[in-house]
């Protein structure tokens, strides 16, 4: 177990192993997202009240899921990097921050586009939208902090601490914003119990969520691999790689 753990911590080993997974992940990602998009946009039934505009949830919901999950991925990687001094975890954390911020932005943007036909306005201070906005600020804080240190090691440590403080804070922020705005829609997808959506609408959404998870994993891997090459550029294995040996 420990040996495996330490092997995983070696950037070189990770780079080689992840290279083997990449094509499969890319295929899964393309297949799932293509299926989900075609199914959701062309075949899923129209919503009784919202018409076709509801179809933006096929982007909005998966992006919102991953926006929050991405923060926890980042914080967990930061914690592992801090506790076990694992360089690779630091690199994953650095790679996860902009990706999570981008997904948060997509969730907010699609939410606004969806809001115009549904509520008649691009922006309302709904609890979930507001929480998402605060989450975006948390991401921006981390990205800004990571860019201002002169050494990568210090930068990774600092961001890990901030991400952990943020993680402790997120439930409090979400609860307080919920409380602040008690008039929001009830959550549409519950983990327990039957979904309140029509199954024909729900199935493509599930495919899209899976597809987005694959997409997240794919981009996180690619970002991490770039970060590995950047940090290890002085080592012989990266030089050999660059020379195409």
């Amino acid at each position: 177990m420990w040996q495996w753990f330490h092997k995983l911590g070696s950037p070189r080993w990770f780079y080689q192993i992840s290279g083997k997974f990449l094509p499969w992940l890319a295929v899964a990602c393309v297949v799932l997202i293509a299926t989900g998009v075609v199914w959701g946009l062309a075949f899923a039934p129209q919503d009784a009240r919202q018409g076709n505009s509801f179809r933006i949830i096929y982007i909005h919901v998966p992006a919102s899921f991953l926006a929050l999950a991405g923060y926890y991925v980042m914080a967990a990687a930061g914690a592992v990097g801090m506790i076990w001094k694992m360089k690779l975890a630091d690199m994953v954390m650095v790679a996860a921050a902009p990706l999570g911020a981008a997904l948060t932005f997509i969730a907010l943007f699609t939410g606004a586009v969806w809001g115009k036909p549904t509520w008649g306005t691009y922006w309302i201070w709904d609890a979930r939208i507001t929480s998402m906005l605060v989450l975006l600020f948390l991401y921006i804080g981390i990205i800004a902090l990571s860019r201002s240190f002169s050494t990568r090691e210090t930068s990774a440590r600092a961001c890990a601490i901030l991400a952990l403080v943020g993680t402790v804070n997120i439930p409090i922020i979400y609860k307080s914003v919920d409380w602040w705005y008690t008039l929001h829609q009830p959550a549409t997808i519950k983990l327990s119990g039957a979904p309140s959506m029509h199954p024909d609408m729900f199935k493509p959404l599930l495919v899209m969520i899976l597809g987005f998870y694959c997409f997240y994993a794919l981009v996180l891997l690619l970002n991490t691999r770039t970060e590995i090459l950047l940090r290890e550029r002085r080592t012989t294995w990266v030089k050999e790689l660059a020379e195409g040996k």
Binding site: S150, T151, R152, E153, E232, R233, R234
Partner: protein, 212 residues
């Protein structure tokens, strides 16, 4: 005097973003020794002192205090170390006496009173003026006054000669000599050679060249 070194460092490697400052640096400081780190600007003298003081985290290598890994005995180690960096740690709004008083709440500075220490280092009469009225050399002396008071065995001094006049340097050398004769040890960085014959030097530039 026991032959066990106070502080040992083994295979210290320090790189800042993959740029090696020094690598595979080993050595030991015994009681009664003065180790002078020399080398050109930017060769890592301050960084090495910061690593020895545990301010800068250790990337690769081990530090041992009295034979024990410093990660396990950091509290005891810190209680036996006096560090003076480029910035002396004096608040300019406070007087030298007040500065020494609060520093003595943090560090074991109980060998003599702050007034006696200030007198010994040549600051008699300046005990109660705010530090911002003192000159650079006088500030340096005020910082060195902590050395008269400390009970720490190991002194880590980063460029202690900066801004000192001839008399100040002589005073400091006398302090260092008295300390090592009492069984203490000193690691200091400086460009200038010290008059003390017991000084051993560690040249960092040679190390860096060897590493590249």
């Amino acid at each position: 005097m026991s032959s066990q070194p106070l502080l040992e460092f083994q295979a210290l490697t320090f790189e800042r973003d993959d740029w090696p400052l020094f690598s595979d640096l080993s050595g030991a400081i015994k009681a009664g020794e003065i180790l002078q780190i020399t080398g050109p600007n930017g060769c890592g003298k301050s960084t090495l002192l910061h690593i020895l003081a545990t301010i800068e985290p250790l990337n690769i290598g081990t530090l041992r205090w009295l034979g024990e890994d410093i990660a396990k005995c950091r509290q005891q180690y810190l209680a036996d170390v006096a560090f003076i960096g480029h910035q002396a740690g004096l608040k300019s709004a406070l007087s030298p006496r007040e500065n020494l008083q609060w520093l003595s709440k943090l560090h074991p500075l109980s060998r003599c009173t702050s007034a006696a220490a200030l007198a010994r280092i040549g600051l008699a009469g300046f005990e109660d003026v705010p530090c911002y009225t003192l000159s650079a050399g006088q500030l340096r002396r005020a910082a060195l006054a902590t050395l008269c008071m400390t009970q720490a065995r190991l002194w880590l001094l980063d460029e202690p000669l900066t801004a000192l006049d001839v008399q100040g340097i002589a005073d400091l050398e006398a302090l260092l000599l008295a300390h090592v004769e009492n069984g203490g040890a000193v690691v200091l960085s400086s460009h200038q050679p010290l008059a003390n014959p017991a000084v051993r030097t560690l040249a960092l530039d040679a190390m860096a060249e060897a590493a590249l």
